[in-house]
Amino acid sequence: MSRDKHQRRLLPPYLATGTSGAALPSTLDTLTALRASGIPLASYHTSVHRRVVELVTGGSLTAVEIAGYLALPVSVGLVLAEQLVSDGLLNASVPVPDALAPSRAGRPSRQLMEEVLSGLQSLRVA
């Protein structure tokens, strides 16, 4: 199973977000972390692009969190983030660096899950 297939989003045309005139489904993961690179906005960027860049100027947030803070559907947050990454205004980091291995289909490794398990156990309060 390819990652792309799973990352495709159905996006109605009225959600088109400006730069290219047509919204394309995003290939970003919802848990991709994004942070402003410091490169200024260009004249073709919209006010919603500006809000995204401003939101992640002081630190990193995932695409879902950006959508949540700006009250946008997740699919729209993903498209905006992808446009801004390709324009160089946002730096992106993938959620799990080695999850793209075909055998993994995006699933966390056993080692990562063991870390989750012990982390959760240590959060329990007596």
């Binding site: 495709r8 989003r9 848990l31 947030l61 969190e65 699919s75 959620p95 699933r107 959060l123």
Partner: protein, 206 residues
């Protein structure tokens, strides 16, 4: 719709840890009013976020982008809640996605389920059958899951073995009782799920 709406968009975001970390998704799924938002609020260390995903019904069940815009479409919104939980040491950040379990949201489900560690399915013993649809969706995706019974004041007091057989669970699927309003109880449910995901990853997985 949502009896327990999350905070409105906040001007002060809670940023991710600065250092290298991995981000892992866990789904919290179940029928209307079963306690998904409550569990996520209990577990989240940041004010929970809420999004309304817009979906075109015309495209539901197909993957064909060319259909979009060519048909009359009815749009539906699907509410999703998000919570975040940074594990001690700042090396792993968990995201909890509160997801509605209906099959008509199938296109959305593919993206939501992708890469998840597993799903915590919440059930209410007064209406066990309402959880079947979401359990089917999760099983079809091969996602490991655990089932947590949220006990409400007027819930019938079933033996867990009876619940297990009514839900037709596999013998190794964890089934626990949970109070979504309590942190330790909700953490225990995630611990059961994670342990199960690890064992179902098999010996070959690394």
């Amino acid at each position: 719709m949502d009896s327990n709406p999350s905070v409105s968009p906040s001007p002060r975001p809670v940023y991710l840890p600065e250092g290298d970390h991995q981000r892992v998704k866990i789904l919290v799924a179940g029928p209307l009013g079963v306690g998904k938002t409550t569990a996520i609020k209990t577990l989240s260390q940041i004010p929970t976020l809420h999004t309304d995903e817009v979906m075109t019904d015309a495209a539901a069940g197909t993957d064909d982008l060319s259909l979009i815009g060519l048909r009359d479409k009815k749009t539906t919104t699907v509410a999703i809640d998000f919570g975040r939980l940074t594990l001690p040491g700042d090396r792993v950040v968990l995201y909890l996605y509160g997801t509605p379990g209906q099959r008509r949201f199938l296109p959305l489900w593919e993206g939501i389920a992708f890469g998840a560690l597993g799903a915590l399915v919440l059930v209410d013993t007064r209406r066990l059958d309402e959880s079947f649809e979401v359990m089917d969706l999760i099983e079809e995706r091969g996602l490991p899951y655990a089932v947590a019974v949220n006990t409400f004041p007027d819930s019938p007091d079933y033996d867990l073995e009876i619940v297990r057989s009514k839900l037709d669970l596999a013998p190794d699927t964890p089934l626990i009782t949970c109070d979504a309003r309590e942190l330790n109880s909700s953490l225990n449910a995630l611990i059961e799920l994670t342990a199960h995901s690890i064992s179902s990853a098999g010996v070959g997985a690394s």
